[in-house]
């Protein structure tokens, strides 16, 4: 190997290395440049306070309203999509019975967001946990991870969707807190339809809101609070 060849080879190697070092930071900044959504100013956090003592066994007005608003077929088979459901619970040691609606708890630290491989499951800046169905590949990992069994997989082709609520086969979905209504200044369908006024919806961060004041005066709990997910939905009377 002649002297000239050796130097040419090392020149080539050095310049490749330099090029890699020059490009590498750019690749790392790719995401930043392409604009990840802002972390949010954290000013608004939507939540609900559900008064289980006002909830009647056998009443499912909230479920009916949710199904109607979101264009859900309303079936209850094992493969049917349910965004909200009424759960009847009975305390084993005392026999006391209660009834309450359960939906996506819109956690502050959602396990479903952590496990989603594509980032389809995400938390919006105002606290609502949603599925971006453009990104969802239907792997159902979020369904495994959810501690509240909030998510449903769409097992069948969907037709005649509500134009405000796009949903389709092969993706996972759950309660959106009626985000299309909230963005319009309205309340979620379940909160509006409850005849016993058991569901109070509002901004958990707004000192003037009813929910802000109420959760500071009455006892309420988060479900599976030991998991420390800080859910946006609280239950009173459990």
């Amino acid at each position: 190997m002649s002297e000239i060849d050796l130097r040419r080879r090392s020149f080539f190697k050095t310049s490749m290395g330099a090029a890699a070092v020059a490009i590498a930071p750019g690749i790392l900044l790719f995401d930043t440049a392409h604009g990840k959504p802002p972390a949010g100013d954290g000013k608004v956090r939507w939540g609900m306070l559900i008064d289980a003592t006002q909830c009647r066994e056998g009443c499912s007005d909230c479920v009916t309203a949710c199904n109607k608003e979101n264009g859900l077929p309303g079936g209850t088979s094992a493969t049917a999509v349910q965004w909200i459901r009424k759960v009847e619970i009975k305390e084993v040691s005392t026999g006391r019975k209660m009834s309450l609606p359960m939906m996506c708890q819109h956690c502050e630290k959602p396990p479903c967001v952590d496990v989603c491989p594509t980032g389809a499951s995400f938390k919006r800046h105002d606290g609502i946990v949603l599925v971006d169905r453009h990104l969802c590949i239907g792997c159902r990992y979020c369904m495994m991870a959810c501690p509240y069994k909030a998510r449903s997989f769409v097992h069948e082709p969907v037709t005649d969707q509500n134009p405000d609520v796009p949903r389709g086969k092969g993706t996972v979905e759950s309660c959106t807190l009626c985000v299309h209504r909230i963005d319009n200044g309205q309340q979620p369908a379940c909160a509006e339809s409850c005849t016993n006024k058991a569901i109070l919806f509002g901004d958990l961060n707004d000192p003037d809101s009813d929910i802000f004041r109420k959760i500071r005066s009455v006892a309420s709990v988060q479900l599976r609070a030991d998991l420390r997910l800080n859910t946006g939905i609280r239950y009173q009377g459990l």
Binding site: T79, V81, V87, M102, C116, P117, K149, F153
Partner: protein, 393 residues
Amino acid sequence: MSAHPPMYFKNRLYYLLIAAGGLVALAGLYAVHLMEDHGHVITGMNNQVVWGIPHVFAIFMIVAASGVLNVASIGSVFGKTLYKARAPLASLLSIAMLAGGLSVLMLDLGRPDRVIVAATNTNLTSVFAWNVVLYSGMFALVAVYLWTMMERRMNRWTKPAGFAVFAWRFILTTGTGLIFAFLTARQAYGSALLPPMFIVLSFAWGLAVFHLVQTILYAWNEKVLDPAIMQRKKNLLGVFIVGSLYMVVIYHLTNLYFAQQIGFQRFILRDGGVYPQLFWWGYVVLGNILPLVLIYWPGLGRTRCIFSASLLVVLGAFALLYVFIIGGQVYPLDIFPGYEASSSFGDGQIASYTPSLHEILLGFGGLAIAFITTTVSVRVLNFMPQDKHYITD
């Protein structure tokens, strides 16, 4: 006595095997087509049991794909000659099973047409996203490793490549265990013991698959495996079986200690119907005790016994994965501790799951892909272990 030489029948049989494998793979693809057309409603999976038979098959193949490389690692990393000769075959099996397992996983997605989305949008906190990198990297690394072994001029790179593969597959199998370990929500999962458990399981399952393939390969080529080599390999299998049984026992024992887990443990070990039966009879007896007897009982332990033992280990693996993956999902979430719950969405109830033909076809389709890859490769390239006369060390 026919006029044809024996090779004639072997050729015919080879093409028949490829055709059979191809048919099974096609059947699997057809099942996927139906699932895409009609939705997952035609499968047995539902909103309670979201991962079913396809995942049982896929996870077996992926875990075994990682474990089969043990044979290669003992050669390249730990320097044992008789394993070095087997490293190419082990690497081939790894690639084949990884391909089969990943095909099943990707085709079972709700939107398999969005695999490109999965590859380009990654959420760094998701184990699945890591796996996209880990699995594709695995393919590349094992291919490079194979190349260093088969290309004589690259042989001096075999050891570093072997190290890289060794490290990568540990991370990969840890990743597979972490898929479940990170699920704090469910009583069956959410345990730090799962990644090491999966690693040890991979050792046993990978070696069992290797035994099966090696025995068939030797029989096809009318060669005899040196009994001394057979002895070493079978003892290794025995050790791995004991190790994996230990991990599973510890997993259940620690669970039994927690009062909040006792309900689930009672279900999976005693009251759950098909699940305890599969666990005890399928996994413990058929998948562990019987193979151990076949390996260690004096008077037994020759080729046919080892072949049977390996086959039983594989069957036991499927039983364990069925109990782990599906049994873990049918047990309801404990959202209201101390309460009995019921709802229209299966709260508080043991979910029901019946495997459907589509899922079984998809699972076998994945196995067929691995089978075809292996069969064509051993025919086209030289994967037969070339043993020098074995000297015990």
